[in-house]
């Protein structure tokens, strides 16, 4: 059984937020909702300072706390490990958002779909994309399941100009992702949360 995931090479990431924008373009997320984002931090003391970038998205955890917290069963895990949210079942209790240690669940507020980014009605593109959302329910990154199902890679992966994102199956021990994680001592965010994320990071 497959377990789809990502490896993100922080040595390559330049913090350009192309992934953030590609995700918004592909998924047409409403204003204020970012399935992919880059956390920026300044480290060191003047004059020896630098900025570090940490691209984050749903970790599609193997032991997803959002799915466990969901009382309606709207959040579920696919056979390939992708964590999904069914908007037609969601009741908008936001238990998944409180349970996610990575802050990667998003609530579609009432009235949010009535206006697009221009604030002056929705554009033709938004009118199409917004049908994937429902006000009063939770939404999340699907690892571009609609693309994956067609044999394509997620939008954030194909867009990354530095090839910092590698998409694939984490299950085979001799697979590309596992080899990279082994060789470069890959790590996950907040391992103490014991969620077994499917997004790994490399910085060695």
């Amino acid at each position: 059984m497959a377990r789809l995931g990502l490896v993100i090479d922080l040595k390559r990431c330049i913090g350009c937020n192309a992934c953030t924008l590609a995700c918004k373009q592909e998924n047409g997320t409403p204003a204020g909702i970012h399935f992919a984002r880059v956390i920026t931090r300044e480290v060191g003391t003047y004059p020896k300072t630098r900025r570090t970038f940490l691209p984050v998205l749903c970790n599609h955890c193997d032991d997803a706390p959002c799915a466990q917290a969901c009382p309606s069963g709207a959040t579920y895990v696919r056979e390939d490990g992708i964590v999904m949210a069914d908007k037609s079942v969601c009741i908008g209790c936001r238990a998944c958002a409180v349970a996610c240690p990575y802050m990667n669940r998003h609530f579609v507020e009432r009235g949010l779909l009535a206006h697009g980014y221009s604030g002056d009605g929705v554009s033709p593109l938004e009118a199409i994309k917004f049908t994937d959302f429902e006000e009063g329910t939770m939404t999340k990154c699907t690892l571009c399941a609609h693309r994956v199902d067609q044999g394509l890679e997620p939008a954030c992966v194909v867009t990354c100009p530095t090839d910092a994102r590698i998409f694939g199956d984490l299950e085979p021990e001799d697979g590309r992702l596992r080899q990279l994680i082994r060789q470069r001592k890959g790590w996950t965010l907040l391992p103490e949360a014991q969620t077994r994320p499917s997004v790994y990071y490399l910085d060695e």
Binding site: V43, P71, C93, G136
Partner: protein
């Protein structure tokens, strides 16, 4: 607790730092509050066979708690779906408990207040009483389990939280029971044990709160920052002022005064102080919850 925190609250989701819990707001706080004090009052009144207390407690849960929950939901018309996964979700288990409480509570209360010509007898009566009592007990503390299940927020990640909810619910129920008896002219006939229970619960809550903060301080950095916010930061006025000073210390002192000077207005004042402290505690528990910061291990300063 000395020196400035090494990590600040992140101003937005693209910045590094602790992210405040903003999902569960005052409506959830109200639902938890009504659930705790309503179920507490019902159970205390059930044990003391006080029909009015049972009725008021029942109405607080069924109207106050449930309405708050419905107002909060993004899709209230689908509320019934919240009961679908009791195998894994404490929210779903809470829905089931509230449903059982609603049915068994009505079976107990309706024959008492209306001439239906029917009331549960024998084994059925015992079963209804037990189910109503146990479901009320569950409602008193399950909100602590709902919050506790979220390991994402270290401040809630302790087994002391459900216990704290239970003791606060018991205190709220006892206080309301005493107040109702006073207002209906039964003040002189209040069981001594009920008054003693009030004192014991006030002291228990004081000790539990201290233990909670002491225990959670040694937890994750986000929990330490929450404790700092409660004791010296933006939530200090609410926590120190309303939760501790008004909710526990003033209530305790007024209760001691009441033992020497009996007055109805004093009982109402005690109830007001205790309920303010109870609600304030739930609100700071929700508002002061912080998610851990996310960063590469190489850059961790926490």
């Amino acid at each position: 607790m000395s020196g400035p925190p090494s990590i600040a609250i992140a101003p937005h989701r693209f910045a590094y730092g602790f992210y405040p819990q903003t999902w569960w707001n005052w409506l959830i706080g109200s639902a938890f509050f009504f659930g705790e004090i309503g179920a507490g009052l019902f159970l205390v009144s059930l044990l003391g066979d006080h029909a009015l207390g049972m009725l008021v407690g029942y109405l607080i849960v069924m109207i106050g708690k449930n309405t708050s929950h419905l107002l909060y939901l993004g899709r209230p018309e689908r509320f019934w779906r919240a009961a679908m996964r009791p195998d894994r979700s404490w929210i779903a288990r809470g829905i089931w408990a509230t449903g059982i409480f609603g049915i068994t509570g009505a079976m107990l209360l309706l024959p008492r207040w209306f001439s239906l010509g029917w009331q549960p007898q024998g084994a059925l009566n015992s079963a209804v009483i037990w189910m109503a009592g146990l479901s009320a007990l569950f409602i008193m503390f399950y909100d602590g389990l709902v919050m506790n299940m979220s390991a994402a927020i270290p401040f809630w990640d302790t087994g002391l939280l459900p216990l704290l909810c239970l003791t606060y619910a018991a205190l709220g129920g006892t206080t309301l029971s005493l107040t109702l008896r006073e207002l209906t002219g039964e003040g002189a006939a209040v069981p001594v044990m009920l008054v003693q229970t009030e004192y014991i619960l006030l002291l228990t809550n004081l000790v539990l709160l201290g233990l909670y903060l002491a225990h959670i301080r040694s937890w994750a950095p986000a929990a330490r920052e929450t404790v700092r916010m409660l004791l010296r930061g933006r939530y200090a006025p609410v926590f120190l002022g309303l939760v501790l000073a008004v909710g526990l210390v003033a209530t305790l002192l007024l209760a001691l005064v009441h033992s020497r000077m009996h007055a109805t207005w004093l009982v109402v004042l005690i109830a007001a102080c205790e309920l303010i402290g109870d609600f304030a505690l739930l609100m700071v528990l929700l508002k002061a919850g912080l998610f851990s910061s996310q960063t590469a291990p190489a850059y961790r300063s926490d």
